[in-house]
Symmetry: C2
Subunit: 564 residues, 2 copies
């Protein structure tokens, strides 16, 4: 039998890893809840009509699709004419076919008769093709009808079931001729179907690709029950059929928090505060929260006359970290920017100093409303932080932060861990039209943040930041020398657990060494060893596994120690 | 644009529901951890080779399959001869085809020539069919080669690309004839493919159906790193393509705990204790833990001479609750049991009294080792409970408990909530061969329990057992009369949160009524209202939303109250 395995790009999380992951999740959840965010969970599967078209063409391809249940392929086979267009051409086939039969003698020799019919049929088709104005129509018609239907006709005319005296009324009429043609076209259509077309017919559902689209879908469906501003957090896995590689998985968790239904910049300030609290809770001290504003980027675009080339500009700026000034310069030249404008761009990007200094420098240079609006928003966020007795520690106004081509419209955020070679561990920003892609007419502005658990995990491993407790399972293991001692220990076990102490009794009779090994492997910090002496005296051997020390204590004393 | 929706049988869990669900999950998790169980998470997708065949034919059909990424259908189309059997018949086609071309004159008239070839071909095929010994082989051959290949030959001989002077070397040789035949057979094969066959070629992965099979797979893959006895808990969703109906969902959570690698009956006793602690934690007072043993059932079977009919017997017993004594009686009569034996069965099943009394009564009646072994195991479990200062409260030895046809081999459990019309909320038992289905040769005995979160949720809703706190989000909301007051409140907010109090500041300028509405909708129990007077005096209006009272307090006093 083959050895079992797990799908590429997926992972098992065993106890050691789980302890650490739970620590990250609990830290994030605690902060989210403290800031008034409420939990939401959406189904793992969404209708593909909800997911498709929301992540661009590439995203659509990376969606995991779930096969419909039941006899899905039979449905496809029994109804190849789903697409209206094919029906249209099928009708033309019937028309041409019937016309080509007219005036052909039934008593002619088979072969001659067939040649005659095919000849006529070709001529009729030629005429039909000419009649199409649309080039695309002509092309498809030629492909489907001209080439394929000749094949089919060939076969049809030779078929022993074919009755030349009966013209077709439609491609799927109930005469034997109709059924024959249908079957033949059918076989061909299915074989010609591409994966992409077939998927539409056999997969109605897909796995969640992110948490934002399901959240938007939830808001649209529950708009009337929701108390706005709606602060929700969501911590669930998402799936992407990406090529797996180091640090990139096909199943991974996202931890999102969003507020929708308010444009208040307090939300942005609170996001900064939340990020700080999460980092503090995780024990990550050296990090930078980069903040920028789409308006600032627009201001830069306006200053360097990038009208119509904004996207190319943002994409290039976003790569500054990776390809450097020279690389960006090259890309922009290719995109048609003048060297004067590129020089101005780098002058703007090189603005330095405190957040406030950068802001003032840009304010003096910007000549557009968008730019000033962006700077004003940032100023307000900075002010709110100061007034909340918070500060701007760890917060850096990064003019070159662009966050790709996403749907952000206001402030944008990204969190980097300093001195660790890893991408951002968190990102987010404000968007104006969360629900618009579902045909929603109201503009629901929102702002959100997302933490990447896998990267945080890697950072914390590298910096050895996980508290030892995350590795522990039970607090104490009771070991025993003999059956009698094991039964004696049952009461102790109950007493420990009654005080909420995670405790275990080794379940089998075994050598003490084996029992202690078990404690070590499970990182259980304390062990009690019970033998005849302990049973008689009530003074129990109590071992601190880390310190390697042992004392004799009564159960009440042990409980006192462990309850601390 | 179509209104968005979610897939049938799936659910969104909004904040109100999530609060309650988290309460259930946390209660179960806390108990599991207290008993030394460690967390495990496995991927949502498993290879279908891991899942298929583990849940019976019906289970296989209920697996959600995930479409392969990329151009999956092209792969299928380009390789229809995956199945060895088809290759065999394809070779026969080539053989017969080539043979039928021999001696046919190239200069004959097209039509006559074709007739001749087809005639010869048919004869050759008849001979091949005769040569097959196996009836099944004959049938398939007739279907695929006899009927279909005549069609193909027909077409092939008329094709303008066909060169009669070139026999085929194989079905997929590189000559134009070979390619033609391949293409034609191909179209037909694909059209003939059933959903079941196609699924094998286009879906490699499926969604997890339960937590037991992934657990067994994990144990097999990580046997050498695991510290046995291995106590793991796992709380994750599972997916089943069942017909959705009330209380039955296509995505739902399971919360399992299992110990593997020991036969100690302490594990069974601890399961009883854990169930009790979970129920206590949830606030469910009136419940029954039903316990039985597969050995006891075998003892009953032995007593009533059910040899070879055990399965029918257990299935019937399992239905006693639903169809009553008369129904069971009828089923067993149909299964061939004598009325004497059926009478004896009901005598055994009607044994009454305390757990110990029932045990003794059966011990006197049983005549087989299995039966006595089962009773002894149960006795040991009862003893362990007593010795652990636990007791047999809520525990009922239910001789008719059978737990369907599952893989249990020792004790079995089921938990019923009394006076609530709902099935069991928890079930489990001991099994002997967790990893055997993966070809593992070692016998890993284990015992496990699983809680059904959805049923527990329904029970708790019906009995109104959810603590009010599960509905709450933030503890306090700060409302404000004007911009100045809002900014003043920022410091208060920071002070509250610094003490770990979940607090919110209403983010927009709005009428106080609207702000209070927000607090009510989010079930926030306390509200502070800040205006000019509060700013000047530092005495803040502090409202208890439930009691409807209000006092003026300093922030330190409020923090004192809320930190309690």
């Amino acid at each position: 039998m083959e050895k079992p395995s797990i799908p590429k790009g997926t992972r098992d999380f065993g106890p050691a890893t789980m302890g650490k992951r739970q620590f990250i999740f609990n830290t994030i959840r605690t902060v989210y809840q403290k800031y008034g965010f409420q939990p939401l969970e959406t189904p793992s599967m969404e209708n593909l009509s909800v997911l498709t078209g929301k992540y661009g063409d590439e995203g659509d391809q990376l969606l995991f699709k779930v096969l419909d249940s039941g006899d899905y392929f039979e449905k496809v086979k029994s109804n190849p004419f789903k697409q209206k267009q094919i029906q249209k051409y099928a009708d033309q086939f019937v028309y041409a076919f019937n016309l080509s039969l007219v005036g052909v003698s039934v008593i002619e020799s088979d072969y001659l008769r067939i040649e005659r019919i095919l000849e006529k049929y070709k001529t009729i088709l030629e005429n039909i093709v000419q009649s199409y104005d649309d080039e695309n129509d002509q092309l498809i018609f030629k492909l489907i009808i001209n080439e394929k239907s000749l094949d089919i006709l060939h076969k049809l005319l030779f078929s022993k079931d074919f009755d030349i005296s009966k013209p077709l009324s439609a491609i799927n009429d109930t005469t034997s001729n109709g059924a024959l043609v249908l079957k033949m076209l059918n076989e061909w259509f299915i074989h010609r179907t591409t994966s992409k077309q077939l998927t539409k017919d056999i997969a109605e559902k897909g796995l969640r690709y992110d948490l934002t689209v399901p959240f938007a879908r939830y808001v649209v469906m529950n708009r009337h029950e929701i108390a706005f501003p709606f602060k929700r957090y969501q911590m669930q896995p998402v799936w992407r059929a990406d090529r797996p590689q180091k640090g990139r998985y096909r199943e991974f968790y996202q931890c999102d928090a969003d507020v929708v239904g308010t444009t208040s910049l307090l939300c942005e300030a609170e996001i900064v505060m939340m990020i700080r609290e999460v980092m503090q809770g995780l024990g990550i001290a050296d990090f930078t929260i980069k903040i920028n504003h789409r308006g600032v980027l627009k201001g830069i675009a306006d200053s360097i006359k990038a009208e119509g080339k904004e996207t190319a500009l943002y994409v290039a700026i976003d790569k500054l970290d990776k390809i450097g000034q020279e690389g960006v310069s090259k890309e922009l030249t290719e995109a048609g920017f003048t060297s004067d404008n590129i020089d101005l761009l780098f002058k703007l990007l090189s603005t330095s100093g405190s957040n406030e200094e950068k802001r003032l420098a840009l304010a003096a240079l910007f000549n557009s409303d968008s730019g000033q609006k962006g700077l004003n928003d940032l100023k307000e966020v900075f002010n709110l932080l100061e007034e909340a007795d918070s500060n701007q520690n760890n917060l850096e106004f990064d003019i070159a932060l662009a966050r790709g081509l996403s749907y952000y419209t206001g402030c944008i955020f990204e969190v980097k861990i300093n001195n660790v070679a890893i991408g951002s561990v968190s990102g987010g920003g404000r968007y104006d039209n969360l629900t618009q892609s579902f045909g929603d007419k109201e503009n629901l502005s929102g702002v959100g943040i997302s933490f990447g658990v896998d990267r945080i995990y890697d950072v914390m491993e590298e910096l050895q930041l996980f508290p030892k407790e995350t590795q522990r399972s039970s607090t104490v293991l009771i070991c025993h020398f003999d059956k009698e001692s094991m039964r004696y220990s049952l009461k102790l076990l109950t007493q420990l657990r009654a005080k909420g102490i995670a405790a275990e009794l080794y379940p089998d009779e075994a050598k003490i060494k084996k029992q202690l090994d078990y404690a070590n492997k499970k990182m259980i910090p304390y062990v009690m060893v019970i033998g005849e002496e302990e049973r008689n005296s009530g003074l129990l051997a109590f071992k601190n596994m880390e310190a390697g020390t042992q004392e004799k204590l009564a159960i009440e004393q042990i409980i006192g120690l462990l309850s601390k």
